[in-house]
């Protein structure tokens, strides 16, 4: 065992460089208009279409230490909140450059760490003023999403309006936008995938998966078509301070971030859950909570997008061969059994160790007529017949042979069922989950499940894998399934990811009972607040600095004030970069520079006003009062606001900065357990050996 060691912080910090180059990949993933990317493995010629940070990192080769740390941070954010990962990735990149700039100016590392993390604390405290409380949202449940469908999506980003672009020409019908953007993508996918593959497989010597920035996937004509979904400012109430949100539809639209079709599904799911809960507790109405764990997705690739819908109950796809069986089961309630684990002959519960040295000898006189598999299958069938069970839900795998046999005897077995679904059926039907079929007794059997086709004409909805969707329902079950369809198999994953990201956004908004004014407003406030802090500390007006050094008595404590404005300035640059990329990705600016100039203009105004937060709120108000084109004033009533979720967003910032600062403070990389063969190649990279 040999250990290699290298100093990664000599002149330019290698770790930071690596980190910012990884983060660079994710530039196009922030904002509502995301450019998809193809990742192609040059060895296996497999390709993946991705449009989210998590999927991007999943498919990249991140074996370097820094790459792994980045992946770890993104995964942690994703596992906890399911949202905010693109923000995280982008800010990692932006703040990496900020930190590098500080290093160029010889700012001591400890000071960068302290000032930056304190600066972010200031920002997190400041943006509280842009929180919008959510009140009694379920008192207005008579509104439906249909209202939304007729409203226009003239979400003029505030920057757009001020640059004197007419509002009217951007008005597009919501449905058009959604479907158009989709068809564009689909067409592009079909037309270009082949050529893309051909052109990119030329070089096969490299082992790593290579990321291709594909021009074809830059949204076609999106500047004209779908650019306005992320408004920077929207109309508000007359009093700029009294923003509140008490309408579910409004909230959902605000949180859709350009993905109205998926958000509509989520909103419907909430409605269904609300109605279920309402029916259950007529007498004692406990406050309703949106329970995301009771929402499921069923993906049916190959079906048109318009088939996507929300169904109360459990929808799952089964093989076409069971069509006749389902037709027969359709008309009466059936009895069910729930099996956790596999339903195969050789399955034993987890943790059971089979002895390998046991041999069964058969009586030589009696020859075995059936194989043991057949014996087992028959015994299972016997149990099902005995308890008159027609439906079996299995958490694990199911023996093929058994499934076939059961189809003949009019019994349906469904495998790979989610544990929460099992639990929901257990609660609703009184069934008790068992591991082995031999455990089944009368108390374990559930009652009253209805099996139907998802669509009345099942053969119209056979998906690409020759499966048909069926619906399992029972009295009082609180499951809701989102059936997601997409004509392009490659996009199924994206569709599902986007649905969940909408669902989690709405979930956190309802859970926290507050949202941020969105569309860049919070980031803009951070930027302008930091700007003010920089000016204050340059003028030394703010002596009560709360910057905290771990090493309180170090000389750094007294030199802190000298470096503070510089570091805060660079931290602010990170926000500036984020905003200009967001606006460049979203609105019709030809360059990031132009977008950046525009932000600068507003930044000046905001800081001059003395209170950036009221400046932002006032700008919202101005739009509402029809300061711009008078002809559009009545239409503006319907402009939905854009919202953002609170804690996941702030946590994403914190995680991004933590990662950058962690890498910044790292000065050496130690690789342990190298074999002798690897040593020579490592020696050239500046490693020392111990």
């Amino acid at each position: 065992m040999v250990m290699a060691y290298r100093i990664i912080n000599k002149r330019r910090h290698i770790g930071l460089q690596q980190l910012s180059s990884f983060a660079e990949i994710g530039r196009s993933l922030i904002g509502p208009v995301k450019s998809s990317k193809f990742i192609i493995d040059e060895e296996s010629h497999e390709s993946v279409l991705i449009s989210s940070t998590v999927r991007l990192l999943e498919n990249l080769d991140l074996t370097s230490a820094v790459g792994q740390l980045l992946n770890e941070a993104v995964q942690a954010q994703n596992n906890t909140y399911r949202t905010g990962t693109s923000t995280l990735l982008f800010l990692v990149g932006a703040w990496c450059s900020a930190v590098e700039e500080c290093l160029h100016l010889d700012v001591p590392i400890s000071i960068i760490v302290s000032v930056m993390s304190e600066g972010l604390n200031f920002c997190s405290e400041e943006v509280v003023s842009l929180q919008v409380p959510i009140h009694n949202i379920f008192d207005h449940m008579d509104n439906t999403f249909s209202g939304l469908e007729t409203c226009s999506v003239t979400l003029c980003p505030f920057l757009q309006v001020s640059s004197d672009t007419g509002l009217q020409q951007e008005e597009l019908d919501l449905k058009d936008v959604a479907s158009q953007s989709l068809t564009n993508l689909v067409e592009v996918d079909k037309n270009t995938s082949q050529t893309l593959k051909n052109s990119l497989f030329a070089d096969t010597c490299c082992r790593k998966s290579v990321l291709n920035h594909s021009r074809h996937f830059k949204r076609p004509d999106s500047n004209e078509q779908i650019s306005k979904l992320d408004g920077f400012l929207e109309h508000g109430a007359a009093n700029p301070r009294s923003y509140r949100c008490n309408d579910l539809v409004e909230l959902a639209v605000g949180l859709s971030h350009g993905d109205l079709s998926n958000m509509k599904l989520v909103e419907e799911a909430v409605q269904v859950q609300y109605r279920n809960a309402h029916m259950k507790q007529v007498n004692s109405p406990a406050p309703f909570m949106f329970d995301i764990s009771k929402i499921f997705t069923c993906c049916l690739p190959g079906l048109p997008e318009s088939f996507s819908c929300i169904c109360p109950g459990y929808v799952t796809a089964v093989s076409v061969s069971s069509t006749n069986l389902i037709k027969e089961l359709q008309n009466q309630p059936v009895r069910l059994v729930l099996i956790e684990g596999d339903l195969t002959e050789n399955y034993r519960h987890l943790g059971f160790n089979k002895s390998s040295n046991i041999k069964t000898v058969f009586d030589s006189m009696k020859l075995q007529e059936d194989s043991s598999e057949e014996l087992w299958t028959n015994s299972v069938l016997q149990v099902l017949i005995q308890f008159n069970v027609n439906l079996v839900l299995v958490q694990g795998n199911v023996s093929e042979c058994l499934v076939e046999k059961c189809i003949h005897s009019k019994r349906l077995i469904i495998g790979s069922v989610n544990g929460t679904v099992m639990q929901a059926f257990a609660e609703a039907t009184g069934a008790v989950q068992v591991v082995y079929i031999t455990q089944v007794n009368e108390d374990c059997v559930g009652n009253g499940v209805h099996v139907t086709f998802w669509k009345s004409n099942p053969l119209d909805v056979v998906d690409r894998n020759d499966r048909i969707a069926i619906l399992l329902k029972t009295e009082g079950i609180d499951l809701v399934t989102a059936v997601l369809t997409n004509p392009v198999t490659a996009q199924m994953q994206t569709k599902e990811d986007r649905f969940w990201s909408c669902a989690y956004r709405l979930y956190y908004a309802l859970k926290e009972e507050k949202v941020f004014l969105g569309g860049g407003a919070v980031e803009f406030l951070c930027l302008s607040h930091l700007q003010i802090l920089v000016e204050q500390s340059l003028k030394k007006t703010n002596h009560a600095s709360s910057v905290w050094l771990r090493n309180t008595s170090s000389w750094l404590a007294s030199s802190l004030e000298i470096y503070r404005p510089t570091v805060l300035k660079f931290l602010a640059n990170g926000w500036q970069k984020y905003l200009s990329t967001l606006i460049y990705n979203t609105a019709n600016y030809s360059s990031e520079f132009e977008a950046s100039t525009f932000i600068q203009h507003h930044l000046q105004k905001a800081t001059e006003s003395g209170s950036p937060s009221s400046y932002i709120l006032n700008e919202y108000h101005k739009i509402n009062s029809g300061i711009f084109n008078s002809g559009i004033s009545d239409k503006l009533e319907h402009i939905p606001r854009v919202y953002d979720i609170v804690t996941p967003k702030i946590e994403a910032w914190r995680r991004a900065l933590d990662l950058v600062l962690l890498v910044l403070q790292t000065d050496s990389e130690i690789i342990t357990g190298l074999g002798h063969t690897q040593i020579n190649s490592r020696a050239s990279e500046g490693f020392l050996f111990l």
Binding site: M1, I8, G15, A65, V66, Q68, L69, E72, A76, T80, P108, I109, S110, I111, N121, H349, L350, G351, F352, N353, S355, N357, I358, T360, V361, F362, D363, T420, M422, Q423, V434, Y436, T438, Q439, D443, W548, R550, N551, T552, S553, S554, W555, L556, S558, S559, E651, R654, R655, L661, L662, Q665, T666, D667, S668, E669, I670, T672, G673, L674, L690
Partner: protein
């Protein structure tokens, strides 16, 4: 080789060749052992030692730099600056470094804290001594004298750098915990988070102290429960034991119908229905006999006994057979399996049960009880919460944003808890932030100058000149240890009254009024507005007597102090000097090259 084999062609021939080479290697003569005399004089060893010193000293202190440890093959990346994590992952080859690493690891396993202190001091001592032309025997002897001088001083009432700890007030214990937390930057805590975690650690520690203690106090145990991905400020501590469980499994056990005290049985054997180990050979079973069902019958009998004994809660370290669980739940007995080995000892302690290790009949004395059983949800995790009748076991739910930072925080918390335990035994803390080291160096210099005979006592073998040389090397080692706290290019000063540690920006104008530039000393006890005089630590100074006997009122006034655990630091000092002596004493390294 037989003729038969010769006729063979292709692959078989190859295998034949292999056999031959194998045989040949067996015949090879043994390599002679390699013997290096005076290993420390070799250039290679010195270079390795200096790289090693570079690694450990760059990690030292609150602004220490972090190290990324990984295997280069996509394995887990550990970012750390703690000796415990660093040494665990390092693999060193040279015997001298191995001795060093092993002694530091031993120290860390006994005291948790001051590992880097030990490692750096040991390296410094070796390096400094090499520059003096004295025989190792003399150096070793004198080092021992100096070590005795230090330990006597640090343990004496006259010591000017230690503070008594009064556990009636939380102030000094909190300072101690905070010092441990801030000296590990890789846990990425902000000020608020440090405050939150220090308070939490102190609370956790207090929960492990028995309420009515008479005579010997036996401290309880705190179990750290991971809750990764959450905010640090979501961390909390609960009395009792938390057993993690997937939500679906938890829902199956609910609702808990029992209230009040529950009778508990705890199994440390598997109840999964495995056949016990049948040993080598094959067991032949006639058709129609199922061993599996025989074992299951035995399990079900056991289950019936538990039911008839009115047990309410069955806990099993390993897996329980689903049929046994079904039987138990049919009789309203709560069964929880796969608890894991780490919880077994605390569970047995809290419930007063004897872990049951066989499937035979159970003696009723094995059963224990808990006061209550609840479910709890933290973040996305679900837990069973066992509340004991009385007890000193608590669960610290520790959160941090990601794995790397969590691991570092966990280690830090364990260190802090351990340090508190050590401080209860020996209720003193030393001033931190480098002040103890510089103060101690000043004290040694003063002693060797003015009372050399008191150090040498009746040791006739050493002259006073030799003592001066070795003492200077010893003091320099302590001082450069203190200097290792500075990583941003500042300079270190010491005052001529207390001998404390002060840092200042590099290249400060020389003819300057120091009291304007400096703010506080390293430990935070003194500020620069007192009438003090300073000089650079690196420059040569006249020995002076640092003020001894720390007055109580001096400690009371300053708000936040950086302090270190006395026991751990004394231990570290001893290990460092003794290891350095051991390494200096090496005259041959004999390696078996076979």
């Amino acid at each position: 080789m037989t003729s038969n084999e010769k006729k063979n062609n292709g692959p078989q021939n190859k295998s034949c060749l292999c056999k031959l080479t194998l045989e040949m290697s067996r015949l090879e003569a043994k390599k002679p052992s390699l013997c290096n005399s005076e290993p420390l004089t070799s250039e290679g060893v010195r270079a390795t030692l200096s790289v090693w010193r570079g690694i450990v000293s760059s990690c030292y202190g609150p602004s220490g730099r972090l190290k990324q440890l990984h295997n280069g093959l996509g394995g887990y990346v550990c970012t750390t600056s703690q000796s415990a994590a660093l040494l665990r992952n390092l693999s060193v080859t040279h015997p001298i470094i191995k001795i060093l690493v092993t002694s530091v690891q031993n120290h860390v396993s006994c005291f948790s804290d001051c590992g880097l202190f030990t490692a750096i001091l040991c390296c410094n001592l070796i390096e400094n001594v090499q520059k003096i032309v004295l025989t190792p025997t003399t150096v070793i002897k004198l080092n021992k004298h100096l070590l005795r001088l230090c330990t006597n001083y640090l343990n004496s009432e006259a010591c000017g750098c230690r503070i008594p700890v009064d556990f009636h007030s939380a102030r000094i214990p909190l300072c101690l915990v905070r010092s441990v937390l801030t000296s590990k930057p890789a846990s990425m805590l902000t000020k608020e988070e440090v405050d939150h975690i220090s308070a939490l650690i102190l609370r956790t520690f207090l929960l492990t102290i028995p309420e009515n203690a008479e005579g010997h106090i036996i401290l309880g145990k705190s179990i750290i429960v991971p809750l990764k991905g959450q905010r640090v400020t979501d961390s909390t501590v609960l009395p009792g034991i938390l057993i993690e469980m997937p939500e679906v499994q938890l829902m199956k056990l609910l609702p808990i119908k029992k209230s009040g005290a529950l009778k508990v049985a705890l199994f440390c054997t598997t109840l999964s229905g495995d056949l016990s180990d049948t040993g080598k050979g094959t067991v032949v079973v006639p058709c129609g006999v199922s061993l599996e069902s025989a074992v299951l019958d035995q399990l079900l009998n056991l289950g019936r006994q538990l039911v008839s004994d009115h047990v309410d809660l069955v806990l099993c370290q390993k897996v329980m057979h689903p049929s046994l669980k079904q039987l138990l739940s049919a009789h309203q007995v709560i069964a929880i399996d796969r608890i894991g080995v780490t919880l077994m000892e605390p569970l047995s302690k809290v419930t007063g049960t004897q872990p049951i290790g066989s499937l035979g009949s159970i003696s009723t004395s094995s059963y224990g009880s808990v006061k209550n059983l609840r479910t709890a949800k933290f973040g996305s995790k679900h837990f069973f919460h066992l509340i004991p009748n009385e007890g000193t076991i608590c669960s610290l739910l520790l959160c941090n944003r990601n794995d790397t930072a969590w691991d570092e925080l966990k280690l830090t918390c364990q260190t802090a808890l351990h340090v508190l335990q050590l401080t209860v035994k020996e209720p003193w803390v030393l001033l931190g932030g480098g002040c103890t080291e510089t103060h101690l160096a000043a004290y040694i210099r003063h002693k060797t100058c003015n009372e050399p005979e008191s150090i040498l006592k009746d040791d006739a073998g050493c002259t006073q000149t030799e003592l001066h040389l070795v003492a200077e090397a010893f003091c320099r080692a302590l001082e450069s240890l203190a200097v290792s706290l500075e990583h941003d290019g500042g300079e270190i000063l010491t005052d001529m009254k207390y001998g404390h540690f002060w840092s200042v920006q590099a290249h400060s104008p020389s003819a300057v009024n120091w009291s304007d530039l400096l703010s506080r000393c390293g430990c935070g006890l003194y500020n620069s507005q007192e009438e003090l005089s300073w000089s650079f630590l690196r420059s040569t100074r006249h020995p002076f007597a640092p003020q001894t006997c720390l007055p109580r009122e001096a400690v009371g006034s300053s708000s936040t102090l950086t302090v270190d655990c006395l026991t751990a630091k004394l231990g570290g000092l001893q290990v460092a000097v003794e290891t350095a002596n051991l390494i200096l004493d090496l005259s041959y390294v004999i390696e078996d090259k076979n």
